[in-house]
């Protein structure tokens, strides 16, 4: 966001008429804003895609690309759809005003623009934008980029849809014991470092973190956006996590701190992804047998004394691309029949 603490904003004025352009620019500059101008809709769009603006003041009747076309293009552009637009026009007919608002214009000011009215409407629009930017920023912080995008595109609705993907669970071995031996501040710091490293690995392979609980993490590959090869993404992430933890442990050993060991379980297949909770508080999550199995596999790493365990479906999807050790059919809690479990050989490149 370009808007600074004094309320001065960076604005774009699009108007084909020079007198209008000069006058509007003058009014806005007198209000302390920084103004750039475009002489038609096409130029305005180019500038909006190149530079960052807080708000667009848009004339409707313009050659090359008129204001209606600009509004349509903005609405279809993920980067620009939230840019507030105030239409300034002397268009005849209420139908045209309605059309502007329907196309997403925030406000409509008839020309000649009254400077006092301009100031009030502009202030209101910029304030709304500031709140929206803040919301987006919070959403970025508390949800991943993919979930935030999904929310912005599809809106929020409780309920899910069936997707095909891979689920990964990880946790830190002996975390409780570790937490007891050090001050809580140090534990939080350790968790933050751990999360930063893990989030980075997950995101770089197209995964989305859907759950953080203490030292445990759940990540999904293939939702909310489908991935061409979700199993490879999950296993690559797991391998990268282990490599990262080895480097991290070198630092910890050097600092005379205990090493951190993690266990990872991955399962793939169909699951239901969506928002669960209430309309007031909900979380993006995935549920289903696949998710349960991934969680059980993660738990089973302690029993099997292996680091990364995957299910038969993940193994089948990757076939020869991954080196594994078969642990055979294993009885898993919650499963009637034993399940094929494979341990992923560490240090390989997929």
């Amino acid at each position: 966001m370009r808007e600074n603490a004094t309320g001065a904003a960076r604005l774009l004025v699009a108007d084909d008429n020079k007198v209008n352009r000069l006058l509007l620019t003058r009014s806005l500059e007198l209000q302390g804003h920084r103004v750039a101008t475009a002489e038609n809709g096409r130029v305005a769009l180019e500038m909006l895609r190149r530079e960052s603006f807080d708000l667009l003041l848009l004339d409707m009747e313009m050659p090359e690309m008129d204001g209606f076309q600009v509004l349509e293009q903005l609405a279809a552009d993920l980067q620009l759809r939230d840019l507030p637009v105030i239409v300034t026009s002397s268009l005849e007919g209420i139908a045209n005003v309605v059309r502007c608002i329907e196309l997403g214009a925030e406000d409509y000011l008839a020309k000649p623009v009254n400077p006092v009215l301009l100031k009030a409407r502009l202030g209101a629009s910029l304030e709304k934008k500031r709140l929206r930017d803040q919301q987006k920023e919070w959403m970025r912080r508390f949800a991943t980029r993919e979930v935030a995008q999904d929310l912005q595109q599809s809106g929020f609705a409780l309920g899910g849809k069936r997707v095909h993907g891979a689920v990964m669970f990880t946790d830190i071995r002996g975390f409780t014991a570790l937490a007891e031996t050090q001050p809580p501040e140090e534990t939080i710091e350790l968790l933050n470092t751990y999360y930063t490293l893990m989030f980075d690995a997950i995101a770089s392979h197209g995964g989305v973190v859907t759950l953080m609980a203490g030292d445990g993490l759940m990540a999904v590959f293939g939702a909310p956006l489908p991935l061409p090869d979700p199993c490879a993404g999950a296993v690559r992430t797991a391998l990268e996590m282990i490599e990262t933890m080895e480097l991290f442990n070198l630092e910890r050993v050097a600092a005379d701190k205990p090493q951190i060991k993690i266990g990872i379980g991955i399962a793939s297949g169909e699951m239901v992804a969506g928002y669960a909770g209430t309309n007031e508080r909900a979380t993006y999550t995935c549920i289903g047998d696949t998710v349960n199995l991934a969680s059980r596999l993660e738990g089973y790493t302690k029993v099997a004394k292996r680091t990364i365990l995957i299910d038969g479906a993940t193994r089948a999807a990757l076939s020869d691309r991954v080196q594994v050790e078969s642990l055979g059919p294993v009885p898993i809690k919650g499963k009637a029949a034993p399940v094929d479990v494979f341990s992923v050989t560490l240090g390989q490149k997929l």
């Binding site: 084909d16 008429n17 020079k18 003058r26 400077p115």
Partner: protein, 115 residues
């Protein structure tokens, strides 16, 4: 034409909001641009280009209203809304009437600018 070419209340308000020096520049810009818009009106009428004709009339209307030139604004608005047909019926006369009103407005604006 008995009523004044320029509504002084609107012109004074403009000077107060934007500053007299700026308005003098704005008048100059209008005096440079308006003849081009009139040319565009004549040209697009001759070529029967409805969109360009409407846009030129719209621009003139918008600027006329900015300076308080109500009569000029109303005449331009009529061309904007009416389109080519009525002008063709009257053999282009409405454009020339508009040009004459513009000449009066230009003289009045020049006087106000230099006052």
């Amino acid at each position: 034409m008995t009523e004044p070419m320029i509504d002084r209340a609107i012109f004074d308000e403009l000077e107060e909001a934007a500053g007299p020096e700026f308005v003098a520049e704005l008048v100059d810009t209008f005096l440079t641009e308006a003849p081009l818009m009139l040319d565009e009106l004549r040209h697009s009428f001759a070529q029967r280009e409805a969109d360009n004709f409407r846009r030129a009339a719209h621009s003139l209307k918008s600027n006329a209203n900015t300076f308080g030139a109500h009569t000029l604004g109303a005449m331009a608005k009529e061309l904007e809304l009416g389109g080519l047909a009525p002008v063709a019926e009257a053999n282009g006369q409405p454009i020339e009437a508009l040009a004459q009103e513009y000449a009066r407005v230009a003289a009045a604006l020049t006087e106000l600018r230099d006052a």
